[in-house]
Amino acid sequence: MDLSTFFNIDYTLRTVALGAGILGIVSGALGCFAVLRKQSLVGDAMSHAALPGIVLAFMLTRSKSSLVLVLGAALAGWIGMLLIINIVRYTRIKEDGALALILSVFFGFGLMLLTYVQRLPDATQAGLDKFLFGQAAALLRQDVIIIGVLGGLALLVMGLFWKEFKLLSFDHEFGATLGLPARALDVLLTSLLVIAIVIGLQAVGVVLMSALIVAPAAAARQWTDRLSVMVALAGFFGALAGVTGAAISSLGAGLSTGPVIVLCASLIVLFSLLFAPNRGLVWRWARQQRNKRTLQDTAVLSAMMTLAKQHDTPYHAHNINVLRVMNLKRGGVQRTLEVLEAEGLVAEQSDDLWALTPAGLEAAQERTRFGAQTAPVEMA
């Protein structure tokens, strides 16, 4: 099956993938600020806190229109966020305690309302519980439009306040001393995060939506040190996870979309943690090996120079065993000498007798110039 028929045939899949993709862009981009401000778990608390809002919105309006439910979710998430901020400000309860408290209490309250509604005789509530784990397959065109409009608005506001958000993310105190309304901007930024979360609830569910905030941003962070690049990359990773996850979950029966999308995002994180240039673990390991080699080369060269100082000529040859003794059990002297020989820095004059070459002497002097005691060799 080639791509064009694939996309032409499956209208549902196209809708779902589009919705999940937009969602990934919005949550990835806004998630960057949450991750940089060490508020990764705020998303978790707010997505759980949104549940009672969804049920209450349904109870009050008797409508299952996405817009109504999303607004209810946003309101509840927003109230939860304000409560968390104020609990931390006015009591000695730390942020983790406030987050876990609001998360579990709001979710429990939502659960109580949900079960209450479900047992009402006239209820047409069927399908509200899909908000727990998400059902992207049920996304309709109008849902995707809502996701697109609200998400686009959130990104627009993010763009308008880019400079302020950037400053507050990296140096909150400095921003406040410049006269920025730090508290209002904090609330605005977190409100944008609430929007990014609630538009994803229908597709990904309240339990796992937080991962879509954290994972793309954490992955993007590994590839760059610039905020603008990070936000763009996180949006891309989010979209990638969203589209791939939606596609995979549409293949298998009984696969909730939320978990599949989250696993895709987790794989992207794992790949980034390992292979991102400079910060990645594989790179770090390779750099450590390289440093070790350089250190070993320098140690052997400098040992040979020290020995040579005691002779008329700096090119006097010494037995490898002497170098081994001076090498303090680090080992691999033979191999190091062979490497240095290939670079033309040392030469083997006869069996196991090694001497510096002129290039080697220069290299030894160069490399030990900043060393504490080593002075250049005096030519006799």
Partner: protein, 370 residues
Amino acid sequence: MNSYQLEILLIAAVVAVACALPGVFLILRRMAMMSDAISHTVLLGIVIGFFLVGDLGSPLLIFGAAVTGLLTVVLVEVLNRTRLVKEDAAIGLVFPALFSLAVILISRFAGDVHLDVDAVLLGELAFAPFDRLVIGGVDIGPRALYIMGGILALNMLFITLFYKELKLATFDAELAATLGFAPAAIHYGLMSIVSITAVGAFDAVGSILVVALMVAPPVTAYLLTDSLPRMIGLSVGIGVAGAAGGYWLATVLDASIAGSMATVLGLLFGITFLFAPERGLVSLARRRSRQRYSFAQKALTIHLLNHQGLPEQAEECHMDHLQEHLRWDAPFAEQVVRLSERAGYVQSQSGELRLTENGRMLAAEAMVGT
């Protein structure tokens, strides 16, 4: 109340106490969100254990789940130690991944057994009494009561045996390490307890209520006391009260018991947040206003002392001048003067204020800086 209801209430109370005990230390050690992470990831252990053993009632499942709980802690720490992500992000990455894996495993391979994600997450206490423990043909009560009772006993034993170590490692980890108390061992011990409790409770009350029961009572108690033993005692009491109140509410509304308990616990916290004697919002506001007036009275006496007996006295020590000089608005100035008169610091004669001996002493004391 019939025996069925009594059993539910009893199980709920035992779960509440079992959760509150480790919860106190989670709050004090600022690790409350670990309870959220662990209560989700134990599902993976249960699923894998189920695939290996094939029996949902096997105690091996509890063991497997406890191991996954510890695995969560270790993974978060490993990730944190790479310094590539901060600790909060590490938690936010690890538990959704493991939980998603568990959910997918269940829906792909265990669809036909009673291992329902909704049930794990939300729990249904109302069904707990139907699962009886029968020994030698005799029905000796609901199985959940015995499992949670055992876990409660384990938690009590752990906290009693290592009370001193827990306390020290919680409040001063450096000192504990210096004295050789192995705070790392205590840390993992506590995390094991949290994992085992989360596993035991998932069946009865669901993982989200585990978080509510572990966090809400200690957080509420934290606003009421400064002493660790009293905080533990209060947490246990609040947990049991929340369980009982929640069960009542659930019966009235015919709604989820776990959800109702979390709701009642939230209400208890809300009441405490507002009205706690020392740290509640109301007493905080009252204390602030009292301090504001007491400071204002001192400022007034100092002002009067500075100008008394000098040529400008008639003008400076007059009621109407305070607004200009001390920048008080009229109602506030009147209130301060009224309070000062009542306390015997000043005397007022048609708007002109005069210090009493007491007022002079107050001003002198304030200026020396007691």
